[in-house]
């Protein structure tokens, strides 16, 4: 079942990002959103999250049932980790504080620490944690991996699987394709501003015998030469 089936045209004042791009997102799948720098990955996620003023028709998903992880953590500078979690617990009805605290422990973060003093990696972790602590229908995750160490990557993947069920859809934009490709069932490949290709990851592997990462490299080289 589709939650989104639409054609997008979008531009920033001086830059065309998408022109008549068709996009179709199915419910209950894990998507990997890949593309080169500046091709509009983050913009697409922001559009889907309805942060940019754009009227997407969402089926089966309420606007408040979207959990969006921006590439930078959003917080007020006075906040400690626990303050931010309590804030979300207070203001977001689908936020699960227990879930957050459980994983906070697993990531070995001290809830009494000031967020301002956290390292980049720790902020990423916290950001990710907040995103996944919401019980949403559509998760939009923008670059979860940079600065995060290998063992925590593993917890990241476990969290997604733990959260996953057939009504939930994940879209993950990342450059570290190999970290997530085993998990993803489809990948959305942004090729220039006119096409977003949707490919099944297993199909890529069985038809061309390449991992998604290698396939992506091949395709992008070709696009560049075009």
């Amino acid at each position: 079942m589709e939650i989104i089936k639409d054609t997008i045209t979008f531009m920033y004042p001086n830059k065309l990002v998408f022109e008549n791009v068709e996009i179709k997102i199915n419910q209950g799948e894990i998507y990997l959103l890949i593309g080169r720098n500046g091709c509009g990955k983050s913009t697409l996620l922001r559009l889907l999250a309805k942060i940019e003023p754009y009227q997407f028709k969402l089926h089966l998903v309420n606007e408040k049932e979207i959990s969006y992880m921006p590439s930078d953590l959003v917080y007020y500078s006075y906040m400690k980790i626990i303050d931010l979690l309590k804030f979300y617990d207070d203001t977001h009805h689908n936020f699960s504080l227990d879930f957050a605290l459980k994983y906070l422990d697993e990531f070995k973060l001290n809830p009494k620490q000031k967020i301002k003093k956290l390292s980049m990696g720790e902020q990423k972790i916290l950001n990710y944690l907040i995103c996944l602590s919401k019980n949403a229908k559509l998760y939009l995750i923008d670059e979860p991996f940079p600065y995060v160490d290998l063992l925590n990557d593993e917890i990241f993947r476990n969290m997604i699987i733990n959260r996953y069920d057939e009504t939930k859809t994940f879209i993950i934009a990342t450059h570290q394709i190999n970290e997530f490709e085993k998990l993803a069932s489809y990948c959305l490949l942004i090729k220039g501003y006119k096409t977003i290709e949707c490919l099944s990851t297993d199909e890529i592997r069985s038809t061309v015998s390449l991992s998604v990462e290698d396939y992506f490299k091949e395709v992008m080289r070709y696009v560049k030469g075009d």
């Binding site: 979008f10 408040k64 969006y68 930078d72 804030f87």
Partner: protein
């Protein structure tokens, strides 16, 4: 709404305490010198900081909207109105309480002065600081409230202007149009509120409501523009007006 107030207050509480402490220390430094100049200076400092705080807060909130900070509430289970009102009340509470605490301290200090000197002498010299309440009529005692209401009025007008601006932007109008429409709407708000104040003044004369809006009793649009925007900005508005006539029907065509 209370939740929003709770978190927003904590956000600014540091700044608030610093301002309060700074001002108190400034008051205490010359505790034994009773220069009247100083009292006038104190009063204007309180007025300026209160207005400055109010403007600072609204600017911070408007800037928030252009940064990621807006994401905090975007998917929250609060309505937009709750968020808006929560932030508005936070601002009012902050500068209102600041004004009242400082006025209290200020007058306490004046009272000590009054114990040593003649009241008449004070009255003569403090005539321009409306924050000195000692020896005044009841009507004049309302001045801090009026100042507070005036700031609230400015903040609400600005917030409304900004709210309308974003709404129009969402509908993909050209930003020039948005600015012009906002100014016109705020002019109408000003005009109406002035009229309301006139009515209130006639029905409840003892409260002296005319302090709420800028004390010049301007009932015309021209006066408004001159007062609020000054002559230079009037030129800008005229320019916008011309641009508006050119673009008013043209929607931004980039999206849909």
């Amino acid at each position: 709404m209370l939740k929003v107030i709770k978190y927003e207050l904590r956000r600014f509480v540091n700044l608030y305490i610093i301002l309060l402490a700074g001002c108190l220390i400034f008051f205490l430094l010359d505790f034994n010198k009773h220069l009247l100049m100083l009292y006038q200076l104190h009063a204007s400092i309180i007025e300026i900081i209160t207005t400055g705080l109010a403007l600072y807060l609204i600017i911070i909130y408007i800037l928030d909207d252009y940064k990621n900070k807006k994401l905090l509430y975007q998917k929250a289970s609060l309505t937009k109105t709750q968020e808006f009102l929560g932030k508005l009340f936070t601002m009012i509470m902050l500068f209102g309480s600041y004004l009242f605490i400082m006025t209290f301290v200020y007058n306490l200090k004046l009272y000590i002065l009054y114990k040593h000197h003649y009241l008449e002498y004070l009255r003569l010299n403090l005539d321009h600081t409306y924050l000195a309440l000692i020896g005044r009529d009841f009507k004049e005692w309302l001045y801090p409230l009026h100042l507070c209401l005036k700031n609230t009025y400015t903040i609400v007008t600005l917030a409304l202007m900004y709210g309308i601006f974003t709404k129009l932007r969402e509908k993909r109008y050209d930003s020039y149009n948005c600015i012009v429409i906002c100014f016109l709407i705020s002019a109408i708000i000003y005009y109406l509120s002035n009229y309301l104040v006139k009515l209130l003044d006639e029905t409840l004369p003892f409260l002296d409501f005319s302090y709420i809006t800028p004390r010049l009793r301007a009932f015309g649009l021209e006066d408004y523009l001159v007062n609020i925007l000054s002559v230079n900005s009037l030129a800008v508005v005229l320019l916008y007006f011309i641009i508006m006539i050119k673009f008013i029907t043209k929607k931004r065509s980039d999206n849909q």
